[in-house]
Symmetry: D2
Subunit: 345 residues, 4 copies
């Protein structure tokens, strides 16, 4: 059994990590931390976990935790993550970081969108944890920067097109919609049931922090710098991200030809499902799983291709992908703990 | 009192018309029809209306209804509408048609997206009932083609930009999201609670029938033929449409400059609210009203402008706009029956 | 025009008062207060109200407000209400209080369930504002204690049975379910969208503060002291209360006989609708209105009667009833501002 | 591997069986049937299952299916189930029946609440599949009648009290609330999203078909005939049942004493969680699992005990319990395929 700790377990990403780890046959949780709930059993913080874990929330004592754990999942807000990760690494642990702190390779870009970085020397070492694109590097990594939820949905939806130069790089528009778990478990008026329910809005237009992360990956794929328009929206559902992506085609392929490109690209990927022509994805069909479903349409009238990708933002968009990365850095089956079928309805 | 009849009263558009007419001081409903519920009191079809109306649903007897009514609201599916409207007109009634049958001026376009047209001679006469663009013609109309819900949200959101040539006409991408009342009250598996709730999907990509209607209005505004990419999505809420619209700017205006253009254009419009810079609309804030809220952001990085507009799809997107048109053709105050504040939460 | 002020306007009860007052032809709002949003336009606190009100939120300056207003609506938490109401009364204003502070006639009972009372001398004067039971007293009142949401649904559902001794007084069980606006607009983890959505729970079993209020009214009706079992539950909807009430019959009447009792009792009540036999109420059919719908079934097998009543908790359960009381104490038409039809769906 | 077939796979109970069987290490699905979708891949009927199953829906050919399968799950409507079950038994299969057809031991009672029974001789043989009460009989059964969803929540919530005569048998009132999957996947107007969402209603008061099933089990437990008041309600959520149960105590135990009775009774039950004093269950905390959470309060004022139990109606209330029964009749670990933690949020 590989010993793991979950740092910052009392948020929605934390409970999802615990849910998945409860069903993982090769991982054993040795510590969970929460500042807010120190000393409280995690099964009281999340009654859903009653009977699954006996653990009490600890404070973050790096030495003590590192002595017990092989791999650390950090599910902290950005900035808080970089306060502890260097020490966990020094103590010999591997780290899968679910914050944004090590996702951007360029310190300057990070500091422009977030704040100053306290361990920029690790930016070069950290591996961006999107297995479908960077699997080989992840396997050897000591520090995995688990991707953001929106960037995951976008990168998987555009990778086959960019890698084969099938779209123009200045035409990309990304219209994303996320479930409300994406806003976290903090008690804010804007996240109240009656503010979100029966509502729908855009936010962070042209200014959302996932923009540079998206652009870094798309530029990697294309080999040239890419800028996108990215608009996130808040959906009145618990889980799920759907990204609708627009780009101008370079070659005028048909829907079926483009679907073939996707099928070939993802033929060996266990978590990507390419839908048949005429079918479009729904967030309801990936709920609770590490799956990414992708559909697309080539619009002959406008010369554009419209790609739609969906993931569960808490799972493939956060905790599930973190487990996938954990499996890769631990040298175990990539599907361990991630094979359950979606919960529908 | 102006006597009105609602033809096809048992759908969601029907009940919304009745709700609004219940509060309209100058309209009296003299007949409601429903094939499915003939002989049934409308307050049994919609228990919400108990105490508001004594009417029983009738079958469509044009002669009998025309003898009692001055103005006819047709809330029928396309094709069914054109089966009765010419006769209501011949009988001397004015008609506000909520179907798609008289919205497209070009018979050929109509027949390409729908089916053959049985009264094409009326296409030239019918006035497209978007008061913010065609108020003067509507006032004189005998037959008003009430706009579709998506096209209303799009036309109001793009009109100021197109009228002043502030965006390039080949760059327009429209990503729309609609509440489930838009799918009607027919008993279909895809509209079941458990299929829609906690779900989200795109549909009709590059093939939705509102596309030519959108393009007709935008082309009117711009003076040249426009083609757009239009993607509708299904939201797990009862009411509301939010359209996120992307276009490349021609002049590089700032957010505040563009907002000024909108404020000037809509200064005298009672149902359009332009939000201050930094604020974006939410469907929850227009619920139950004829309002359209608009916000926008000029993205200096990409040179695009992103406009977000919201309406209540059943109200400004259907029944409310129909009442507004009714008020105009009847020569009464345009706000009659439409002044109630939004229901929030 | 009667001048009114809304004290505590930034909660859900506040915005509902403002929504209804926006459509009230004989009331003019001269002041709104909010500690949290002092100096902020109310249309920024609630964007739904944009264009309806120009007012800025004030702090509570009793002298200044009393100089401008005839009637005060206090939409404050209990305890905060009693801190200001005596002074508003001294300054010559009438008050409709939406808190719990003056609902219980017995100071001792109040202090047992809440905390010590600072103006117990007003308890005898305050009139419990349930017009269907206490209309004549309300008309003459200076201080109206607007009923709680649960107690309103219960009192209307049981009044006809208790007044005619048709049920045994020790057999009453009340199982109530409320929409989430009932939990207020405070930013609490338990009220977050992802905590409430797709969930359902009971709370406050055998200890909810509405219990003594329910018992006071039922005892009034029956003429003897009544104790009930009362269990509230939290519904994942914005608005609505449904109370399912069980009691043992004394006379073995049939469903239709009992319905006749209700129809006679409420024949002249404009806001109570008794449903026909075989039909049961739904919170969706009273949304946004001051209506109370009631259905019932006499169960011959068990000798019990089961009554189901529904209201909109924000409207007949709070702000709507407050307007109804305002109309009564102002000597104007009881339906003023309250005649709009329900918003369905 | 045990070979199983799912008869009637295209409903919500069907898809839940398939979801659970996908994660069951000792079951192999050899056939799925659907009249409506004959010839269609099950992964097209339920896109969530894409990649998990290759099966096509068959028609019900008993001989062919019995030749391939050891155990049959029948997820058909009542009446349809009894049309095929006797033949599956004759062909040597074991059957877990999720319909109501073999739940009631008394043919007369069955025929009074449903319709005439075509294989009454099997009523005596069939075992009621509630493992917490009838585990030993189930292990030896050839035909298991899987309990209804409401009856499961009620029996588990009242068993400890009735078995120890802690409540009076004529005082039981059951107020239950179910998610909308309970209404099935049939396309009915009443199940449409916009009819259910933001709504809440009671239905089938004093006449719901689960009443005799509840009474049969409670009478078994108590040793004397029991009649209850049972009121189901429809919740605007996908999954979950919460039953609030009221009964008069015989001995005046405290909350903590009664909780001890429950803890002892269920100490060895893997799927029942008794909550600590002061905590009440929420349907959200058992989502997707076979768990039943129970909380209670002894109300000293009224002498009643109020028990609240929750289950996932599709899982412990249907498919999960069916798998539990399958495990028991197959002689394998009772938790096989049922150990995943709840999906929260």
């Amino acid at each position: 059994m590989i010993k793991v700790a979950v740092i910052g377990a009392s948020g929605y990403t934390g409970v999802e990590l615990l849910r998945l780890l409860a069903g993982h046959s090769q991982a054993e949780i040795v510590a969970v931390t929460s500042r807010q709930y120190e000393g409280v059993p995690i099964s009281q913080v999340f009654p859903s976990l009653g009977g699954y874990f006996d653990l009490e929330c600890e404070s973050i004592d790096i030495e003590s935790i590192a002595a017990r754990a092989d791999v650390i999942f950090t599910a902290l807000p950005h900035k808080s993550a970089m306060d502890v990760i260097p020490d966990f690494l020094k103590a010999g642990c591997k780290v899968v970081d679910l914050s944004a702190d090590y996702r951007l390779r360029d310190q300057q870009v990070y500091e422009q969108w977030y704040q100053s970085h306290s361990s920029p020397e690790l930016l070069a070492e950290a591996v961006y944890g999107l297995p479908e694109l960077y699997r080989d590097q992840i396997k050897k990594a000591r520090l995995v920067a688990n991707p953001g939820c929106y960037p995951t949905s976008v990168a998987l939806g555009l990778a086959p097109l960019l890698a084969r130069q099938l779209i123009t790089t200045d035409s990309i528009i990304i219209d994303s919609k996320s479930g409300t778990t994406g806003a976290g478990r903090g008690a804010k008026e804007a996240s109240l049931f009656c503010e979100v329910n029966e509502g729908f809005k855009a936010y962070g237009i042209a200014s959302h922090r996932h923009t540079p992360e998206i652009e870094q990956t798309l530029s990697d794929l294309s080999g040239e710098p890419i800028q996108v328009s990215f608009t996130p929206h808040l959906l009145p559902v618990d889980r799920g991200i759907l990204s609708t992506m627009y780009a101008t085609q370079t070659k005028g392929f048909s829907t079926s030809e483009l679907l073939d490109v996707f099928k070939i690209r993802y033929a060996k990927e266990p978590f990507v499902r390419i839908l048949p022509e005429g079918q479009l994805p729904n967030i309801a069909y990936v709920r609770g799983t590490n799956l990414c479903d992708i559909g697309l349409v080539a619009d002959q009238r406008t010369g554009r291709v419209i790609v739609v990708s969906v993931i569960d933002n808490l799972c493939k968009g956060a905790a599930g992908q973190a487990i996938q990365n954990f499996n890769l850095i631990s040298g175990i089956d990539e599907l361990s703990g991630l094979s359950a079928a979606p919960l529908f309805p």
